[in-house]
């Protein structure tokens, strides 16, 4: 009898087994390769659509603002939103996307946790003729037709802007500490590369120490503490943090070391969240390169167009600024996140 149950199990598993996604010859989605600055077209209310959004998690203030923007926009436009928080795990995100496909949503959007490993599940979406919008992070794939559009920031450009700003501020002379983001994530990779590009022209700008701070305040603080107790760290004149949270953590460490953040060490970071503006106001942070989390409107713009059968641009970058003590006051009061 035991054997019978085992056999039943095996048989049912075989019965359930999964075929690989059937290859369909869906027409390739429209490709508009020219980067376009978004202009949320206040078009007439589109038909009600269902969008499945697989979020990374809730790891930072930036992410929180991102989530809220998407949720608010869905409500505002009267669309149905299926939202899933992957708790920073790719496998959870893949499960969510598969579930969206099974539920037959009109459009899938997601912010990929990591860059690789999406081909199989996106092929399934493609086979089911569901367009996919990447939000805020890109993926690394051989087959660019696996996703329809990308909405978000140009991380490499952010890195470049941070580098440029720092070069101007320090007249091309700085020994720099770098706090990297989560190893392997697109923003960490790209912001590092862009920054390196920008300072490559300045022979007297050198990154003297670089470690991961995992995008969190706690790690940013701990790593900075350790940096400051090394010969390189003591001589450092600038800090580049891949996000504001790490910079805020690092500011605490610098203060504890008896130095003045913003003066003894010039600090530039990326994201542009409210706490960063407050820090600029206090003179502890010098510059934050904005990375706009308010992706709800552009995502739904694209989704509406896709459902209506219109062509959409492949890449849509958000409009973003660079803020330092000269211009932070323009936006600080409007920042909700």
């Amino acid at each position: 009898m035991r054997k019978m149950l085992l056999t039943t199990m095996t048989v049912s598993l075989v019965g359930l087994w999964a075929c690989a996604p059937a290859t369909t010859d869906a027409p390739p989605p429209p490709v508009v390769s020219a980067p376009a600055i978004d202009g949320p077209a206040d078009s007439a209310p589109a038909q009600k659509l269902t969008l499945g959004f697989a979020q990374v998690g809730a790891e930072s203030d930036w992410r929180k603002a991102n989530t809220e923007s998407i949720k608010a926009e869905a409500e505002k436009r009267g669309h149905e939103l299926k939202f899933s928080d992957a708790q920073q795990k790719q496998e959870n995100q893949i499960k969510a996307i598969r579930s969206f496909i099974a539920q037959g949503v009109d459009v899938i959007a997601f912010a990929p946790v990591v860059e690789t490993g999406w081909d199989a599940v996106l092929a399934e979406a493609k086979a089911a003729n569901i367009p996919v919008i990447l939000s805020d992070r890109t993926i690394n794939t051989q087959d660019e037709t696996l996703y329809t559009a990308f909405v978000g920031s140009d991380f490499r450009e952010e890195g470049r802007r941070a580098g440029k700003w720092l070069a101007e501020k320090t007249n091309g002379e700085a020994s720099i500490l770098e706090l990297q983001g989560t190893p392997g994530s697109a923003p960490a990779n790209e912001r590092k590369a862009g920054f390196a590009e920008a300072i490559a022209d300045f022979p007297n700008m050198k990154i003297v120490k670089s470690q991961t701070g995992e995008f969190t305040r706690a790690m940013g603080k701990e790593v900075m503490e350790a940096f400051l107790k090394t010969p390189e760290g003591q001589g450092a004149t600038a800090l580049y943090a891949h996000n504001d949270d790490m910079a805020i953590g690092a500011i605490q460490a610098i203060e504890a070391a008896g130095k003045k953040p913003g003066q003894d060490i010039v600090i530039v970071s990326v994201d542009g969240v409210k706490d960063a503006f407050l820090a600029i106001q206090e003179g502890k942070l010098n510059c934050t390169v904005e990375c706009n989390p308010l992706l709800g409107p552009p995502i739904f713009d694209l989704a509406e167009k896709l459902v209506a059968g219109e062509q959409v641009p492949k890449i849509t970058y958000s409009e973003e600024g660079v803020f330092d003590e000269n211009n932070y006051a323009d936006v600080i009061n409007d920042r909700k996140y």
Binding site: E59, Q88, T216, A218
Partner: protein, 330 residues
Amino acid sequence: MASLGRIVSSRHFWPLLVFVLTLLLLRHLSTDFFSISDGRVYGSLVDVFVRGSQVMLLALGMTLVIATGGIDLSVGAVMAISGAMSAWLLTAHEASAGVAIAGGLGVGAVCGLWNGALVAWFGLQPIIATLILMTAGRGIAQLITDGTIITFHHAAFEALGKGYALGVPISVWLVLGMLLVIGAVVDWTNLRLSIESIGSNATASRVAGVPVARVRLLVYVVSGLCAGLAGLINAANIAAADANNAGLYLELDAILAVVIGGAALSGGRFSLTGALVGALVVQGLTTTILTSDVSVHATRVVKAVVVVLVCLLQSPAFRARLQRMIRRRP
């Protein structure tokens, strides 16, 4: 010679030796090992203690749990819950620091009570009983924070993580206070005897009248309290409650600390200071690697080697084999 032998075979010798060696290396690498500026202690040495304070607190509770032959996998999750609770009280209810601290500690104790009840009253294996809260705990914490990171600005509360008293970081005082309180309670009552006897032979302890269930319940509550306090320090340190990352994998570090500190995972004799030294070894390694140019990932490899070495050194079978090998050579 005999006394040297006794020192070497003492349970604190090896962890202390490793800690001292780590500190020497750190001192060599660090340009600012220890100093006093503005009446405050400062330097890499201080960092080790401050950063290690959370694991030290966890290790204090974990020592008692392990001494009864149990284990508490949920402490990392409990840290997240207590941090979330106090941040929620601070922001949503604009509570005072005192209320927030009490709330965080209270919720930690309740978590401990839950674990203890499952172990002591329902007779579940500790590893499973606490795995339940380990799994569900971060979910509960996110329920409190509504899935976001709650940031707050509250100087009095933040002092728990960043403040100084008499020139020494408050978090270090908290560890010291906890050590003294637990140490005093354990040694001035029958608790140490009861805990050690349960860990050594629970059946015989019951026959001898030791209140086995009550002691087990108590150690899990203490562990929950310690985790709660560690969670508060964690939240105060970054002025935010991060349900996802607060105390992530710290339960493993705490268990590691206790074992490095010389306790057997099977229960029995325990030493609170040993556990603290164990925690400091773990943190000392991390800080040293962060200070050096070695990739931070190497920390894990070093930890792996330390775990296995410490376990081997404690293993009677390994010691016997080692002695045979030494004796064979003249």
